[in-house]
């Protein structure tokens, strides 16, 4: 487990794993905002640039996500064929819908 952006106030930890079919799973815990999103992106760059077919973002323990988080998810969605967001908190899911991104990001409640 790695910690990101603890000093900046917002705190985000992530865990990397693999799904049963071998696709990468990143599990987020804490707050994904403009201070932590760039760090998470840098941390996951090696995985995203190998262009896996599918990337699973487990957002079940994400407490907060702002527009930077959305931008990051969209960017991943543009680079990876399929980005699946598992169990996002209600507030994140609503923002995704509000931003018209429901079709771009495969949200699995």
């Amino acid at each position: 487990m790695a910690e990101l952006g603890k000093a900046a106030g917002a705190e985000l930890t992530y865990e990397l794993g693999e799904d049963s079919d071998g696709c990468p799973v990143v599990r987020l815990r804490g707050e994904l905002d403009m201070t932590t999103a760039p760090k998470l992106e840098t941390a996951l760059e090696p995985i995203v640039t190998t262009a896996p077919d599918r990337l699973v973002v487990d957002a079940s323990e994400l407490k907060f996500a702002d527009s930077s988080a959305i931008a990051l998810l969209v960017r991943w969605a543009n680079m990876v064929r399929h980005v699946e967001i598992r169990q996002p908190p209600d507030l994140l899911q609503r923002v995704i819908v509000r931003m018209g991104l429901a079709d771009r990001l495969d949200v699995r409640p």
Binding site: E31, M34, I70, A71, V95, V97, L101
Partner: protein
């Protein structure tokens, strides 16, 4: 810490509000800073003064402790020296008493007297330079025998008899005082008599003279006990020069701290005055106050300098922070419309508020563009992110929309084109944009959203969000497609478009924030400017993100 930019409203306030707001924080900051600029010096000076005061107090206390310690030691040493002096009495009195007793017992036999006393007479360290035996016969005292130097008694004392009479009645060592011969020979005379005045076999008295050093000075050797003291020994109670027996000093009286001890000596007393030749407790306690003073001054200066540096750093940080804010705000406001166009039949207004403690420029904006055919385009947008990249993207989008709109493009036409200016993959930026085309006379609003929050339509009949299917935010993909929704507005309706900073809170669904806004606005009978002010005031409490809000209100 929220500075507000009140966009120039088209209501009857003709005052160019933008300018006033821009200058207010700056003048506040400048007067506040010049006041603060003097603070580091004041704080450092306070530290210095406190440090010096503590140093002075410690110096005084340590000096006082040292002085009282020296005084105590001096008194102690004086007493010790007095005890030593008191021990000298028996060494003089015993031979004298023995000689007098021997004379009584032998009826004044001169030979026996001489034999007995000879061992006490001579140069130092013997007690006497000369001793004589005197007899009272027929009311007169006359010498019977002499050993050593002849007595100087008669040359000094006119009434020799009085001395021996006193000795005969005293039965203890009786001091004749200082006896002299010429200016240089000075001695101390003692008499002792054991007989009674009424004795049948005659009365005898022994009389001895002890040497006094030349000039009554005695040199102290450094290895001697009490070598750290200066002393003067006087005969009698008064420390007067004529009574001086011996001293270690060239000049008297002893100056500075001194201690006086009186020691019984025969029928009189010796007065001993002592003063320190050097610090009695050693040199360190004496130097300690000066060491404390020196070190204290150095530490105080060091602390003051350190404080000055730290305070200056704090001040400099504050100044830079204030400057940064000012720069960010100035730039932000420069990128926002300086004036909104005046539209007949409408009141229009827009405001921008920076988030609390926000240093960086944000990417929120609003705009109002006059179109052909009595229509107006209200735009509110938000570039995700902060800093110059967000601000420049915002400026590019704002001016592009302006150009496309003036050229005649509708939002569904120009919004897809905007994604050519911005790419989330390449620029790491995306933007949400809300466009509302307002047909003033037809009371119609056509809303198109690129992933933006819906605008709020408010009238006396209530408030509702104009929900339109949101298209993709700008920058997600090339040439996305957008759909519009047209609604008819009641008379006097108000349309508010805003960015998420107004409604978004950590740990709270955006729907809650939207509902809070709706509740705040309805029922709405307020002029647009007042409404914007109230909404910002009520909803922005505790908000950290920047907020742009713009609205139009039908005057009829």
């Amino acid at each position: 810490m929220i500075s507000e930019y009140a966009g120039p409203g088209m209501t009857d306030t003709a005052e160019p509000a933008g300018r006033w707001v821009l200058e207010r924080p700056r003048s506040d900051a400048v007067s506040g800073l010049s006041e603060q600029a003097r603070r580091p010096f004041r704080v450092a000076l306070t530290v210095l003064v406190i440090g010096l005061a503590i140093t002075a107090a410690l110096t005084v206390v340590s000096s006082a402790v040292n002085r009282s310690n020296e005084k105590r030691l001096l008194v102690l040493h004086g007493r010790e020296l007095g005890a030593v002096l008191a021990e000298a009495l028996p060494s003089v009195q015993t031979p004298m008493a023995s000689a007098a007793a021997l004379a009584d017992a032998t009826a004044g036999n001169p030979q026996k007297f001489k034999r007995f006393i000879a061992s006490y007479v001579g140069g130092p360290p013997r007690q006497f330079v000369g001793v004589s035996l005197w007899r009272l016969s027929g009311g007169r005292w006359s010498p019977v025998a002499e050993v050593g130097a002849p007595p100087l008694l008669r040359s000094t004392h006119k009434n020799v008899a009085a001395l021996f009479d006193r000795a005969a009645s005293n039965h203890k060592l009786t001091l004749a005082g200082l006896v002299r011969s010429g200016p240089h020979t000075l001695r101390l005379g003692y008499a002792f008599s054991t007989s009674t005045m009424s004795g049948s076999g005659g009365s005898y008295a022994a009389y001895g003279e002890g040497a006094i050093p030349a000039n009554r000075r005695s040199r102290l050797e450094s290895n001697q006990a009490f070598s750290e003291l200066n002393y003067a020994i006087y005969l009698g109670r008064a420390p007067a020069t004529q009574n001086l027996i011996v001293t270690s000093l060239k000049r008297l009286p002893i100056r500075g701290p001194h201690s006086t001890v009186r020691v019984p000596f025969g029928d009189t007393v010796l007065t001993l005055v002592v003063g320190p030749r050097q610090a009695l407790a050693g040199s360190l306690p004496g130097r300690l106050p000066w060491i404390i003073l020196g070190v204290g001054i150095l530490l105080s200066l060091g602390a003051a300098l350190m404080t000055l540096r730290l305070q200056r750093a704090v001040y400099e940080n504050r100044r830079l922070y204030a400057e940064q804010r000012t720069i960010a705000h100035t730039l932000q406001h420069a990128l926002l419309p300086e004036t909104l166009p005046s539209i007949p039949g409408l009141s229009v207004s827009g405001r921008y508020q920076a988030g609390a403690e926000n240093l960086e420029i944000g990417g929120d904006w609003y705009d109002l563009i006059t179109l052909k055919d009595g229509c107006v385009l209200l735009v509110v947008g938000d570039v995700a992110g902060k800093g110059l990249p967000a601000a420049t993207a915002m400026a590019a989008l704002r001016f592009a929309i302006h150009a496309y709109a003036v050229q005649g493009d509708t939002p569904t036409v120009f919004l897809p084109k905007l994604s050519r200016l911005l790419s989330v993959t390449e620029d790491r930026l995306l933007a949400t944009v809300l466009c509302a085309v307002v047909d003033v006379d037809a009371h119609e609003v056509t809303v198109t959203s690129a992933g933006h929050l819906p605008p709020l339509l408010s009238s006396s009949q209530g408030s509702t969000f104009i929900d339109t299917p949101p298209g993709l935010p700008v920058g997600v993909e090339r040439d996305p497609s957008y759909t519009s929704t047209t609604v008819t507005t009641p008379r006097g309706a108000t349309l508010l478009a805003f960015t998420d900073g107004l409604v978004e809170r950590r740990g709270e669904s955006i729907e809650v924030g939207l509902e809070r806004l709706r509740a705040e606005v309805s029922p709405n009978h307020m002029p647009l400017d007042d409404l914007l002010g109230r909404v910002l005031e009520q909803l922005r409490e505790g908000a950290f993100d920047d907020t742009a809000i713009a609205g139009i209100q039908w005057l009829s």
